[in-house]
Every structure is written in C-alpha cells, then in structure tokens.
Subunit: 277 residues, 2 copies
C-alpha cells in the first residue's frame, strides 16, 4: 500500500479529516501535570487517549521538544511510540538540506523515530528532498503556501505568469513518482487553495491555519475538496490541546477534536450531498 | 559588540576564514573510537582540540545527531559546550517555521544550546525569521544560494529581472537592522557570489561547497572579497574531519585545517597585496 492509499484508507476508516497538532509548550501544560517526571509525555498521552478516536493524523511539532534539549527529544521519542497504529504520524520538522544531510534527516524521522510522514521545505530543490521521496511508504509533505504573513515575501513572487507556490506545486506533482508526496497549504489563503488543487488534484493536502490562526474552515474545505474523496487533513493544535488547562483538559480536547471532525464532515455532506447518499 | 563586529574580530584575531564543519557521521568515525561511551563526542572533542587554533568557526550539522535520537542530541549538547570561546559556534540547522514555532527553534539553538549563530531557511518569509533576528547578539545565516544542483529548481527562478536568490539577498539586507544577518552562498557558484556580494557588501557570508562538493576555492574567494576586510568564512567538513581514519585522525584534521587557513590567507594576500603590506 503506497502512502496515498494509506492516507485515504485511514481518513475513510476513521471517517475523519482531522489532524491533531501536538505543539507541546511546557509553559501551557496544565499546572498539576508539572510535578510529573515527564510532563510533555503525560500531557500528550492524555490528549492522544481522548482525541485519537476522532483524528486521522497527529502532527508533532519538533521545535517544542528541541527547545527542551535532549530531555525534550526523549519525550518526543516516547510520544511517537505511544501513537496508535491507525493514525498518520507526522513529524512537523520542516527540514531539508543538501543530499548527504537530508539523508540523515530522513533517517532521523522516518527510521530512528517511527513517524510515517514528515514536513519538508522546498527551497533547496529536488536533490535535497530525494532522500525523503525515496522512502516509498512514507508521506512527504512539502511546504507550498504557508499560513503566515511572510508567505508574501517569496511564495507570492511571480515568475513568468506563475507564483512561486504554484511552481512548487507543479514540481511536486512531477516528483510524486512514488505516490508519497503531499502539500502544506495554509487555510488562510482559501482562494489559492483552489488553484493549488487544480494543479495537484491527487496530492494529499495538510492544511494548517484554522483555529488560532483564523483561517476560514468552510471556505478552505470548499476549495480543498473538488470531490468528497480528495485527500486532505486539517490541522488544529492550540484550539484542541489547550482548550482547557484544568483537570478536564484531555476530556475537553476530545470534545474539541470530535467537534472539528463533525464540523468538517457536515460541511462535506452539505457540499457533496448526492455522493453521500 | 554586535554579531558583525564579533564575526570580524574573531576572523582578525584568529587570522582565519576557516569554518570546520562537524558533520559527525557515526559510520565514518575511526573504528577504534567506537568502543568509547560516546564516540560522537570523543571524535568531535579530538577534532576541536587540533583544529580550533586554525578555525574562526565551527559549524555543527544537527542532522547527524538527530539521526542518533536523544542519545545523539546529548552528544550535541556536550560538543557545543566543549567548543572554545574564541570561535563562532554555528548550528547548521536550516530551521524556520511560523512565528510561534520559530520562537521555539530560536530558543532551542540560541538559548538551550549555547550556539551563537544558526542557519535558517527563507521560504516562509520575514515573520518566520523574526524570532531569530531579534536575538541581537547572535548570527542568523539565511540560505541564499545553496551549493547543490537543486538550487536550480527555485533559487534560480526569475521574478521580474531578478533571480529569487538575488531577491533573498536584497530582502536580508533590509532585515539586517541588528547587524546580525549573514548569507549562505555555495562555493559551487562563483560568478553568482560576486552578484550577491554587490547586493550585500556588509553581510558575513558562510560559504560551503569547497572540498568534497568541488567548489572552486580561488574563484569563490576572489568574488567573496571585494576588500580583504569583507566578512566571510569558508566551510570544510569531510575534507578535514575524515582526512584520516587512523589513530592520527585528529592530527591530520589539524594539518588540513591549517592548510586551508593558509591557502585562503595566501590567496587573499595575492589578491590584495597592497593592503597587506
């Protein structure tokens, strides 16, 4: 089963397009967990327990663990190992470097750590991504159009009659020999999502930017899905995992994850009523 | 003292433009070190001891440590701590993410780990780099034109009458409010180095790609230095640290580092004979 098939079968089996983002900020972990030996792990474990029923994917943001040094990396190792089998396990690492070094990054996240997908940065071009792309059963999500203001600095530059982000999408379609490429497209740019979906009808989209960043869920959904079967997941981090800082934090996170799953599914049902009958 | 001043004073004091790249590949460490408790650390320590006299900077490639998991990250922590004070300590991490996450990466490398410089990727634009740029006494080396073939995929795209790498250089000049920005420019593109130096006459250049990657040292030097005082360092990794796999590996690394320092200084002396009298 290639990555695209795995992606689609998980979304179908879980009936979910939700990606829960584990941006585990030690300063935001509920105070009563801070006495635990490994608060980052205990917090994540509880969140995983209550949200995984509603999630197609978990996206672990490596920066938050690196900020804690080797201790944080140990927590990261334990958390990835704890993730259940029936979800996509995405390292949100945004790596890339020249060939030799990219090989090490690919090993670090797709072998040493048992993630089955990773986010990568396209700026260094194909040979920098090749060591990831040749991991045929893993998903490689290439940054295309990011959700932040800074996307305008380079991603919106025009080359010929195309924006750089469109050229990235086109190139990635060409690089997708193993059906294991995906694109990161921010929900804060719904109109551009349609253009990118036209360029890359078969690529899984990882869509951050809903929730705290203010991206429009309904609009992004409408443009992400040309058909109800299109591969896509929507990430929410802070709005789920920090919804409560009380004893009920995990329970509330579960409710928020379920709510997001249902909200997405309901919009899809409204958008494609005939297909769903 | 701002980063630019620190950069220049170290190069002057050490009379060196050499950056030693610690791409510590466990499979290439001399076999007799593999019985040590922490071979990556013992290897690096020995290399640092023999090369630091000739080096203005050490650049530690994080990928090689991440590939070893939390154990590797522990080695990384020990190695950074071991670096002497009179060199630049560069985390070759090529990070960048949206604001909140970039803040964590900046902390991870410039606070939790005591590096005084880091390499970052420009694709996500200014707000993604801001948490690094506001570390006023640290150096932020932004990827401009990389030494690999894949540089042609996006960095050489034209927008208006400029290449993307030229636009990156221009933007970075504008972002350099704290005199702490630098550029990564591959030695494999000597002609382009001149164009980038014209755009950014005062920025420190970190130049990889000589040695194993085949960049032309004399040509890159000629175009990097418009005057003999221009800020620049040339990285060599494999050609120094793996020059011998025998008992004399550290000694040979020291000889190679000295040789590179002298080679660079001699070319500079030939290029700017009057200034040096």
């Amino acid at each position: 089963m290639n990555f695209l098939e795995k992606f689609q079968s998980i979304c179908r089996f879980k009936n979910s397009h939700v990606c829960v983002g584990l941006d585990v900020d030690v300063t935001l972990i509920p105070p009563f967990l801070k006495h635990e030996k490994d608060p980052m792990y205990e917090f994540s474990k509880a969140i995983i327990d209550t949200t995984s029923e509603f999630a197609a994917a978990f996206k672990i943001n490596t920066a938050f663990f690196e900020e804690q040094g080797s201790k944080g990396w140990q927590s990261l190792e334990k958390i990835v190992a704890y993730l259940p089998d029936n979800v996509l396990k995405i390292a949100d690492a945004k790596r890339s470097d020249i060939g030799n070094t990219s090989k090490m990054y690919a090993k670090a996240f797709l072998k040493t750590l048992p993630f089955n997908a990773i986010t990568v940065n396209p700026y260094l071009g194909l040979d920098a991504l090749a060591p990831f792309l040749c991991e045929t059963d893993k998903g490689i999500f290439i940054l295309c159009l990011t959700s932040n203001q800074g996307a305008h600095d380079f991603q919106y530059l025009q080359s010929g009659n195309k924006f750089i982000y469109e050229i990235v999408a086109e190139k990635v379609v060409g690089w997708n020999k193993n059906n294991n490429c995906g694109l990161v497209v921010g929900a804060t740019h719904p109109a551009e999502i349609r253009k990118i979906r036209d360029i890359a009808p078969k690529l899984p989209f990882l869509i951050p930017g809903i929730g705290a960043q203010g991206g429009d869920l309904a609009m992004s959904l409408k443009f992400t899905f040309a058909t109800s079967e299109d591969p896509a997941i929507f990430n929410s981090s802070r709005a789920i995992i920090y919804a409560s800082a009380q004893k009920d934090f995990a329970e509330v996170a579960g409710i928020k994850a379920k709510h997001l799953r249902d909200e997405i599914n309901n919009i899809l049902l409204d958008t494609f009523p005939l297909e769903q009958e």
